[in-house]
């Protein structure tokens, strides 16, 4: 799993830098386009992902104390945050598409939509992983001595969070 996480971080890292350096050649365009973003939605999403990450930490802690049920509850809380994140993101993308903006509009929107969508798919995958872990935890499939699955799922989810923690200031905030 750690190998994948590193590979994913590598891809995102390359894209972040591509964004940053592509911007140097087109600062005005990037700054102007950035104003059209919904910063509030982005900020709420940051709060959601950070909180979900925290809930996942709690879930891991619960299973260490052999409390399968409450582990599952914390995971469900995390997934609720993740689900809300996805919903907000869809609204945000929907508004952009409504406004006639696409990946071909300009380089800024290519990155905004492309990276956003790529990250979106990672949240979806993360949800699937957490969902599977939750189910197993609910059925009592983990214990204080054997909870590798929970930790692995948690690591993946934190990676998704970590990426967003950089993505948000990079694309929504810095100008």
């Amino acid at each position: 799993m750690w190998f994948f996480i590193l590979a994913e971080l590598l891809v995102f890292g390359v894209f972040f830098l591509a964004y940053a350096f592509a911007r140097t050649r087109n600062v005005e365009l990037f700054n102007a386009s950035q104003l059209e973003l919904d910063q509030l939605s982005g900020a709420i999403n940051t709060v959601l992902l950070i909180s979900s990450s925290y809930f996942v930490v709690r879930a891991v802690d619960q299973i260490r104390h052999d409390r399968s049920r409450s582990c599952a509850y914390w995971l469900i809380a995390a997934m609720t945050c993740g689900g809300t994140f996805l919903a907000l993101k869809l609204v945000e993308f929907g508004a952009k598409i409504e406004a006639g903006i696409s990946m071909s509009t300009n380089t800024f929107f290519m990155f905004y939509l492309g990276l956003g969508f790529f990250h979106f798919m990672h949240v979806v995958l993360g949800m699937v992983i957490l969902g599977a872990v939750t189910l197993k935890a609910w059925k009592g499939g983990y214990s204080a001595t054997s909870y590798g699955g929970v930790e692995t799922g948690a690591a993946y989810w934190h990676m998704v969070d970590l990426v967003w923690i950089i993505l948000f200031p990079l694309i929504y905030v810095l100008h």
Partner: protein
């Protein structure tokens, strides 16, 4: 050999090697036509020779994959093949269809061939690698489906291992992606999309699964390293191959009329494609270093290691060389592409098939390994072919750099043919290397006929 039915692999491998020889002969004909334009005019025009060269390549690799699958799947599933008869019947159908197609290319003008074989019912012909007439394409699908049925039944009823599942998924993917070759839209951009979805998704997608499974199989056998270790590697390799390879298709969308953002997505993802190839190299060396036994078949071990290295060089290094959009802007469709195509196809797929043949052929002929002398000859052939291919690649790369410079960058760019004239020395050297390659291949074939005292008869 544990199961009788594994022996159906033998005719597949023999056919593969025979067609390989044909491929090289036509390669050499073309190589000469590059510098002596009217060689064999008008009997074999360049475009026909090219079609024969590349189609033979694909067909012999398919023979190799099928043979490998028929050998590997029963052994991994620990039961006889579902139907050896079906496998043998498919062999003959495929061989006859393949031979008829090649003869068709050589004896009939391509346009007439198209007319006679119903290309106006469903136009599928005329695209590189996928030139086959409609009946041949349908034949390929039938043969593939019959094979998949045969193999899937074997796996379903038998032991399921990572190796046979990966192999099976790879073969299913191969068959499914081939279906894109039946759609040939009039819109040139769409046409290119569908073409790449066969060509790219094959060599940089599902074929990597097939290759990984074959390599893992041989490595387990010759090194005796624990299956768990090898399977872990296999998982990571194929996952990386799929992640990078699918979106990496974008490295063919740069200049075909696709949206501009593909220059970013194609560049970044295809830049990761060397990783699985690099891992295969590390994998092969790692396993051989940790070996628990000295397998008497030294030649097979050499092929396995060679596959790792050459696949990484050809696909990974030479692929990376021109995969970033700003570089590809200059190198697109030049001799650099040809250099990469040659080393990648040889290093990855030709060599992995020969690895498999090298390991299985002695077993199918009733011995653990060939005699010392026969193995020495085989290893010579390995070095001759591999070194010759390295030189072919280097000469083509040199020709490519010069070509790009003269034709695309210089202050007063030359016309295409004038630039070709300038680099003809490299084409001569390529042809000489090609002859050495042929010598290597002939030695390889000869090694099968050398008897000598056979080594210990245990597997």
């Amino acid at each position: 050999m544990k199961y009788k039915s594994q022996a159906v692999a033998k005719p597949y491998f023999i056919a593969a090697i025979g067609l390989f020889l044909g491929q090289i002969v036509f390669g050499l004909i073309m190589g000469l036509q590059y510098v002596v334009g009217d060689f064999l005019f008008p009997a074999i025009p360049f475009n026909v020779a090219r079609m024969v060269h590349t189609n033979l390549l694909i067909v012999w690799l398919l023979f190799g994959f099928m043979g490998a699958a028929y050998y590997l799947i029963p052994e991994e599933s620990e039961r006889e093949l579902h139907s050896p008869k079906l496998a043998l019947a498919m062999f003959w159908i495929f061989l006859v269809a393949g031979a008829a197609t090649i003869l068709g290319y050589l004896l009939v003008p391509y346009a007439s061939l198209a007319k006679w074989t119903g290309n106006d019912l469903l136009a599928t012909m005329g695209r590189e690698f996928l030139e086959q007439p409609l009946p041949t394409k349908i034949g390929i699908v039938v043969v593939a489906l019959a094979m998949l049925y045969n193999l899937s039944m074997t796996v379903l009823r038998g032991r399921k291992t990572t190796i046979n599942l990966v192999m099976l998924i790879g073969l299913w993917g191969l068959a499914i992606f081939f279906l894109f070759s039946f759609y040939n839209p009039g819109n040139l951009v769409k046409d290119k999309y569908y073409w790449w979805w066969v060509v790219h998704l094959w060599v940089e997608g599902v074929w990597e699964l097939i290759m990984g499974a074959m390599l893992a199989f041989v490595l387990i056998k010759v090194t005796g390293v624990d299956r768990e270790v090898i399977e872990k590697w296999l998982y990571v390799i194929i996952a990386m191959a799929l992640i990078s390879g699918l979106i990496g298709t974008g490295h063919h969308y740069y200049w075909i009329g696709a949206p501009e953002y593909w220059q970013w997505w194609g560049s970044v993802f295809s830049a990761l494609e060397p990783i699985p190839f690099f891992m295969m190299t590390v994998f092969a060396f790692n396993m051989v270093n940790r070996r628990r036994r000295e397998h008497p078949n030294k030649a097979a071990v050499l092929w396995a290691l060679g596959t790792g290295v050459m696949a990484f060089l050809g696909a990974g290094v030479w692929g990376f060389l021109h995969t970033l959009a700003p570089v590809n802007f200059y190198t697109h469709g030049s001799q650099i592409t040809a250099a990469h195509g040659h080393m990648a196809f040889y290093g990855a797929y030709a060599m992995v098939v020969m690895t498999m043949i090298s390991y299985t052929m002695p077993l199918m002929r009733g011995r653990a390994a060939n005699s010392r002398i026969s193995q020495v000859v085989e290893m010579w052939s390995f070095w001759l072919m591999t070194v010759a291919m390295v030189f072919i690649t280097l000469f083509l790369t040199a020709a490519g750099i010069l070509q790009i410079w003269l034709q695309r960058i210089a202050a007063e760019p030359m016309s295409f043919m004038a630039a070709q004239e300038q680099v003809s020395l490299f084409y001569w050297m390529r042809e000489v290397s090609g002859l050495i390659f042929l010598v290597g291949l002939v030695l390889y074939i000869a090694s099968f006929f050398i008897k000598g005292k056979s080594e210990a008869a245990t597997a």
